[in-house]
């Protein structure tokens, strides 16, 4: 096939440098499509380093493991590739998200029964904050993450990894809890979001407690304490007392206090104590 003239080395050089006009670019690319000599001419203008870099990029893409749905979604909403990978690389955690979603939706649907009462809303509000606590329990730590020892020995701070995962668990819980809330919002109005601050407080308290005991133990203590507290208050007053407007600032304060304790004791996540 004939090449449109004039096509020469200087044009190829300018093409490689990215300084050709749109029309010239099209002509060069059309020429390269149809002519091996033109591909050779243009290729010869590209520094070997750049060619190697480009080839490495192609190979990297070919070798790259296929991203799962969760990872793709996280990248789509703007997360860095490596952060999404950190989050998605723990299968146990993903399973916990599914468990969390199923639990919240189940109780949401239960409470949205046409014969619902304050009691059924109370169950939803009492259980929903436990979902992120459950998620945190299976998101980080020896015995949870099989490669935990190897992860601890890397420069990535254990505290940072824990926070990344805890935030992801909380965000997922809010989404699924929100779906559950929407299902019953017609009957109960804005009160269906009253579980969010307790969830934040309980999750932060679990993280703070896990600087002293295993994460699973910490989760069991906060979840157990919460359920006992809710039951005692519900008996003494009514089902909604724990979730009313006067109680909400107390949860915010508790979350803040637990957050401060967590930050001050963050070094606890930088080593593992195991007898061997």
């Amino acid at each position: 096939m004939m090449i449109d003239l004039p096509l020469d080395a200087s044009l190829a050089q300018r093409y490689v440098a990215g300084s050709t006009t749109a029309a010239e670019t099209m002509r060069v690319e059309r020429a390269m499509d149809s002519s091996a000599s033109w591909r050779g001419l243009v290729g010869a203008q590209v520094p070997a380093e750049r060619l190697e870099h480009n080839l490495a990029g192609v190979v990297a893409e070919l070798d790259a493991p296929k991203r799962g749905f969760v990872e793709r979604s996280m990248i789509r909403v703007g997360l860095h590739d490596h952060v999404a990978r950190l989050l998605a690389a723990t299968p146990v955690m993903r399973r916990s998200w599914y468990i969390a979603s199923v639990l919240v939706l189940f109780f949401g649907l239960a409470a949205s029964n046409p014969d619902n009462t304050n009691g059924s809303l109370g169950i939803f509000l009492a259980i929903a904050p436990l979902v992120p606590v459950l998620g945190v329990a299976v998101a980080y730590g020896p015995g949870i993450d099989p490669a935990h020892d190897m992860t601890v020995a890397t420069p990535l701070s254990g505290f940072r990894l824990l926070l990344i995962r805890a935030v992801a668990v909380l965000a997922t819980s809010v989404v699924f809890g929100g779906i559950g809330g929407v299902l019953i919002a017609q009957s109960h109005g804005i009160r269906v979001v009253a579980w969010m601050l307790p969830a934040l407080a309980l999750t932060t308290a679990t993280l703070a407690l896990s600087t002293a005991v295993a994460t699973r133990t910490a989760s069991a203590i906060t979840a157990g304490g919460w359920l006992i507290g809710v039951a005692v208050v519900a008996r003494a007053a009514d089902d909604f007392t724990m979730f009313g407007a006067p109680a909400q600032p107390a949860y915010a304060a508790a979350a803040l206090a637990a957050g401060i304790v967590l930050f001050m004791r963050r070094d606890a996540f930088e080593s593992v104590e195991v007898a061997s």
């Binding site: 490495a56 990029g57 190979v59 990297a60 070798d63 790259a64 493991p65 860095h80 590739d81 490596h82 990978r85 950190l86 690389a89 723990t90 299968p91 146990v92 099989p146 490669a147 020892d149 190897m150 992860t151 601890v152 020995a153 890397t154 420069p155 990535l156 701070s157 990894l161 070094d267 930088e270 080593s271 593992v272 104590e273 195991v274 007898a275 061997s276």
Partner: protein, 287 residues
Amino acid sequence: MNAASLRVDRVGHSYGKRVALQDLSLSALGGVVTVLGPNGAGKTTLLRSMATVQRASSGQIYVDGLDVSVEPDRTEARRRIGYLPQEPRFAPRATVFDIVDYLAICKEHHDRRDRHREVRRVLEAVQLGDRADDRVRALSGGMVRRLGIAQSLLGQPRLLVLDEPAAGLDPDQRLQLRDLLTTLGATSTVVVSTDMTDEAAAISSQVIVIADGTTRFVGTAAGLTRLAGERVWIAPQAPARATRSWRQPDGTYRCIGDPPPGSTMVEPTMEDGYLLLVSAPTEAAVA
């Protein structure tokens, strides 16, 4: 030479009332340092402490002069360390590539392209390149260990801490591992724990024997062998007095300890020296 200096200074560690390490000191710069000792001697505790996975109850550990017990030194030290735990475990449903890719991110390889190139490099180094897409649950025990070794090589660490890297490998793979470790030892400091004396003899530039949490020997493989000089003999029957003895295929007994007069003495091996050291409590030896 890219090797990191390692200094362990009077390190001790206890699990409740059980003392695992007691006032243990050593130093290394380059080469392959083998930590030998019987089960429960404290090898894994020592290596976990070196790798910053576990905090020693007492004493200090320095990597290139960085105190691994405090920040920001610890994070900086971790940039120089590659670690293989005694029992490497991975999410069974993840692929070989995913696992190493994930740990590469933890080791601050954030650029996707460079990271994948590094992942391929370390997988090739342990002959797992063609298994990159396999799930961990499809790997044999030896392959899982090689995967563990691969992740420890990410970023060409200046200090490699490998807890029993040869366990579960077949003879051919052990030979390849020896080759890899001695190659790495030329440019890095490689600390390897093992209870296989033949492995230690084959690769070590320095041997450390620990038992009951204390150092029994620091020196070379030849020095450890020399400890058993004139203390190994062959007897036709089970000896009444020997520190250790065992029956050989020809029916005679190989004995180590203080030989009776007129014994048939034989050349000692490193294993003889090691057995002499760990069979009876002695003062620490340096050879």
